[in-house]
């Protein structure tokens, strides 16, 4: 009887999915006791590299760390920080904290949804923008506030939105 052990194939496939740096990290984790406790740290690294966690990434992490896949996807789907879909080049976060909300964050959000043609949690078809709502960013003095990538924009009005998006795209073209 042949080909009864697919472990080599599964292992090779898992290794092919993840970059070397993460493979090294996983190997390090496995050399220490309680490797399973490093799951979240490994998922962070994978998301940092790919921008999100695809099913094949989760499968690879499960096989290489030898943690049941259902547990791995359970963790990945539990935490808001982990994203299971590809994210846009620019993530726009609309602050929905009290101060921003009072100052019209909902109208900003509506305008963004309209301009981008997407809802919260979604990404534009061209892969450029992801729209998210966020809790207080700690810059209430500038309310209402949105973040585009790591840039904070304060005292935003709905009419500024098209311009802000245009500027963002220009920065992409010039870089």
């Amino acid at each position: 009887m042949s080909n009864t052990n697919q472990w080599d194939a599964v292992d090779a496939q898992s290794r092919a999915v993840l970059p070397d740096a993460i493979m090294h990290y996983i190997t390090e984790c496995r050399a220490r006791p309680h490797a399973e406790s490093r799951l979240i740290a490994v998922l962070h690294k994978v998301q940092q590299h790919f921008g999100y966690l695809a099913p094949e990434h989760l499968d690879a992490v499960a096989q290489l760390l030898q943690i049941p896949t259902a547990k791995v996807t359970g963790v990945a789907t539990f935490y808001h920080f982990f994203h299971l879909e590809p994210r846009g080049k620019f993530v726009i976060n609309v602050c929905m904290g009290t101060a921003c909300y009072v100052k019209g964050a909902d109208r900003i959000a509506e305008r963004l949804k309209e301009e981008l043609g997407i809802d919260f949690g979604e990404t534009t078809k061209d892969g450029l923008f992801t729209l998210d709502a966020t809790r207080c960013l700690g810059t209430c003095g500038l309310a209402p506030v949105i973040m585009i990538g790591d840039q904070v924009h304060g005292e935003v009005t709905p009419d500024q939105i098209p311009n802000l998006l245009e500027q963002t795209l220009r920065s992409l073209r010039s870089s």
């Binding site: 009887m1 080909n3 009864t4 052990n5 697919q6 472990w7 599964v10 099913p55 989760l58 499968d59 499960a62 096989q63 030898q66 943690i67 049941p68 896949t69 259902a70 547990k71 791995v72 996807t73 359970g74 789907t77 539990f78």
Partner: protein, 586 residues
Amino acid sequence: MNEQNTVTLLIDEVSVQVPAGTTIMEAAETLGITIPRLCYHPDLSLQGSCRVCLVEVQDIPFYVTACSASVTEGMAVRTNSPEIRQARRDIVELLLDNHPRECQTCERDGHCELQRLAYTLGVRERLFEGERKCFAVEDSSSAVVRDSEKCILCGRCVRVCDEIQGVHNLSQQHRGDLTVVTPAHGAKMDDSVCIQCGQCINVCPTASLLEKSHTDKVWQALADPAKHVVVQTAPSIRAAIGEGFGLAPGTPATGRMVTALRRLGFDAIFDTDLGADLTIVEEAHEFLRRLQTGPLPMLTSCSPGWISFMEKFYPELIPHASTCRSPMSMTSALIKSYYAETSQHRPEEIYSVAVMPCVAKKYEAQRPEHYLTPDLPMTDAVLTTRELIWMIQSYGIDFAALPDSAFDAPLGIATGAGDIFGTTGGVMEATLRTAAEYLTGNPVQRLEYTEVRAVEGLREADIAIGDQTVTVGVANGLINAKTLLDRVIRGERQYHIIEIMACPGGCIGGGGQPYPPRGFHILDPALLAQRASALYQSDAARSLRRSHENPAVQALYDAFLGEPGSEKSHALLHTSYAAKLPKGIR
């Protein structure tokens, strides 16, 4: 009892002494008080998530969960204060608020723990009405159906899959009101590492997990005059079916079961015990061959849940698995070949039904290896014990009052060795009864090998047969099988033969067996012991107790198969296995 290791406390103003470390729930049970519970299961780890078992403890400013809180000296517990009764009722009302209102049309009506709890706690109206969770039923699987709307997130299925079976297929995914129990990636059951054992169905308090029903197909076949409908019943059905009709657990009901099947309209009623005898004869021959040529240990192959487990978790051990089909598939193969010939039916007009204690048999029946031609399955439908009980009830048959009758020829004669297949260690014991004679070439007096009855889940023994010693291992519950198989892989011990049954206690604890009668919990060792004793009684009452002495088996070889291991028996009675994905993590 040592004074220091004992704790004295008051439960509902009654003083009780229990060992330190006892939980409040266990202490109350010693007084005959059953505290309501939902997520708790004595064989599984504590979760404490359902909050139904809340009790009041004097000087503790909050209610505590009786399942997880240990007793302390001088503790004063109240299990039924008005406040506690109200809190429990509120909790269950909130669960019901997020639960479909379809008790009357639900498969578990009358057997549902949530329904029983709501009644017991006095929930008589639905005060909270709001948005409910909304999930599609996942019924693509050949065996296990998942309805997440009925799930109350007690986590028993997750724990049984992790802790008893070591499969780790289920987990809670997402969070908050979107939390849902699924395999990894929310995959369909058949695309996951699920081995279809059905233990999640057993422990589910509601109808969130159920077997794929075949009862409609069977009613249709029974009503179809063009079909010759044949049924076989597994060894362990006779030990459990009576529970569905109020008979005491452990009452063998073979004769009444056969009569009931006849009343339902089956044209011929055969005994899977015969398939079990045949399995033993084939397997014993295979074992003798493997003693010469290897590879050893030989692993038994009757349990389809175990076979799936091997294919997904231990594919490197496939060469060790006996190539014998399960007793069900052997019997089915003979029904559509030997019986078809002798009864002058075309195989296509025979509808072959198997009554099994097992959910995974539904999966086994549709595996391509168990088809005679690409369009002709050996087994057309598999009913669980629960499904057959329902059919008999639905027909209106008064089971308890039925007279006995006997299985039909030519596939209805069996030995006691076939009976004990239904309990852990039974296949091993039956194999030893036959192999002992084959190995020594002489009749062997010894019949009972009690040292292989693995009631605690895992057993090993050295059995002297003539001048040889055969080292055997027996495991039930796949977490125990893992322990044994890892020993094999690490080369820690050389076994000759290992019996593995996926379910706790073997088939008597199968995923398709009746929900427990009052006074027992699901997978209750006391209940399993009763069912096992029914099989041992049946075995002891037989004049023939060695498989190879079965005259029907001998006649089969003479008239049809040739000899054990012949080309014809290989084609009909043996099969093959293959590594399957996704690869399980063990």
